[in-house]
């Protein structure tokens, strides 16, 4: 069964109790929420994601709901609960679905230590993974969305889950978070981009999520082997430029983008050495997607 098999009232009922067991790649999250915007967001963005039985195992139990007290009614707010605790401050009620998404990112990055986790977008072509680590504001998500709409399989917009033994990157296909000008850029880039509602005045500005392409969800069980490490940077007005990065520098940038390097210690060092050994490392600056995409097509084709 997938989310789209549920009628809206069934989805809302499952979210109310006992919780929707949503599978994203290898991770199952039990999600509860009485908030219509959360149900709507899940209905849009996770329509093709598999559901697990209600009594089945879940890696995480989360609950997105209004706080107790007056803030249920006046200047309404929303809280993200993880295993019964609320690790974050409340946000305005209108940010309920983004809060679910940000909370799920945190659940994975703070808990899935079977993986070395990088803050990076990951896409796949021919079994080979393109790993794009970058800080917020670098244009990573915009580029990731465009590539995912152009034949690359989306593994993740935010989290590279690297198995330290096999070195495979595991998929956790979830909505791509777009901010501010990127929203219209992607909307006009492709008619296939399915965007959810705009959410204004978040800490990141205006946010909208893009539904992950169908193939990325259906092939979420397929890992990929790192082949390219690309550090993207949006540079207004610049021509697309791909330049090699010294491997020692690339290694340190990967360390900087790792969520749990310290947890793994020597194993993380060895894992990233293997990633850098096995892949080509580049910096990539761009301002126009139309120029950027052929560069990545060239990478995939070995040009």
């Amino acid at each position: 069964m997938i989310v789209a098999d549920l009628a809206p009232h069934e989805l809302a009922r499952a979210l109310a109790s006992p919780g929707l067991r949503l599978r994203t790649g290898r991770i199952v999250t039990a999600i509860r929420s009485p908030i219509p915007a959360v149900a709507e967001g899940i209905g849009i963005h996770y329509a093709e994601h598999p559901l697990e039985p209600a009594e089945g195992f879940a890696d995480f139990h989360v609950h997105v709901r209004p706080p107790n007290g007056a803030r249920r009614f006046f200047r309404r707010q929303v809280l993200f609960h993880f295993e019964g605790a609320a690790p974050f401050r409340p946000l305005p009620f209108e940010q309920s679905f983004p809060m679910l998404e940000w909370g799920l990112n945190w659940c994975i990055s703070a808990n899935c230590h079977q993986y070395l986790i990088l803050h990076a977008a990951v896409l796949e072509r021919g079994g080979r993974a393109l790993v794009m680590p970058a800080p917020p504001g670098s244009g990573k998500s915009t580029l990731c969305a465009a590539l995912a709409l152009s034949g690359w399989r989306l593994l993740s917009d935010e989290l590279a889950l690297i198995d330290p033994v096999s070195l495979e990157v595991h998929a956790v296909p979830r909505p791509v978070s777009l901010k501010n000008a990127s929203i219209d850029v992607i909307r006009s880039f492709s008619n296939d981009a399915r965007l959810g509602p705009l959410v204004h005045n978040t800490n990141k500005g205006t946010v909208a999520h893009m539904k992950p392409p169908t193939r990325s969800v259906r092939e979420a069980h397929l890992p990929a082997t790192p082949a390219w490490v690309v550090f993207p940077r949006y540079d207004a007005g610049s021509a697309a430029r791909l330049a090699p990065v010294p491997k020692a520098q690339a290694f340190m940038q990967l360390v900087d983008n790792a969520f749990n390097y310290d947890v793994h210690g020597r194993r993380a060092f060895d894992t990233l050495v293997r990633v850098v050994d096995g892949g080509a490392c580049f910096e990539f600056s761009y301002s126009r997607l139309e120029e950027a995409l052929p560069v990545f097509a060239g990478l995939a084709d070995g040009a």
Binding site: P246, K247, A248, Q249, F251, M252, V255, Y261, D262, G265, R266, F269, D270, V273, V276, D277
Partner: protein, 96 residues
């Protein structure tokens, strides 16, 4: 003891993992959990000390820098001294 008579050694086997690419190196220190990147000259110094079975002296390290075309004569000697001091401060080499 003169500077030239000090023998420099890297930590015991297993304490520091390292990998070189294109002359630069990255090191992981198991004892501190710290990761370091060494540029071309520092990587030469590190490799010279790490690969010397009974340790390396300042003159031999300076010679390695000269052989790598990274510095000459007195400049190589001063550069070797400065890098050794940095590595020692980080606990990556020790002299006896």
């Amino acid at each position: 003891m003169t500077v030239d008579s000090v023998v420099w050694r890297v930590p015991p086997p297993g304490a520091v993992a390292w990998r070189e690419w294109d002359g630069e190196a990255v090191l992981y220190d198991e004892r501190t959990g710290a990761t370091h990147r060494l540029g071309l000259a520092a990587a030469v110094v590190w490799r010279t000390i790490a690969e010397a079975k009974s340790g390396a002296s300042h003159p031999s390290i300076a010679t390695s820098l000269e052989s790598a075309d990274l510095a000459d004569g007195e400049t190589a000697s001063e550069l070797a001294k400065a890098i050794i001091e940095d590595l020692e401060r980080l606990g990556l080499v020790e002299g006896k």
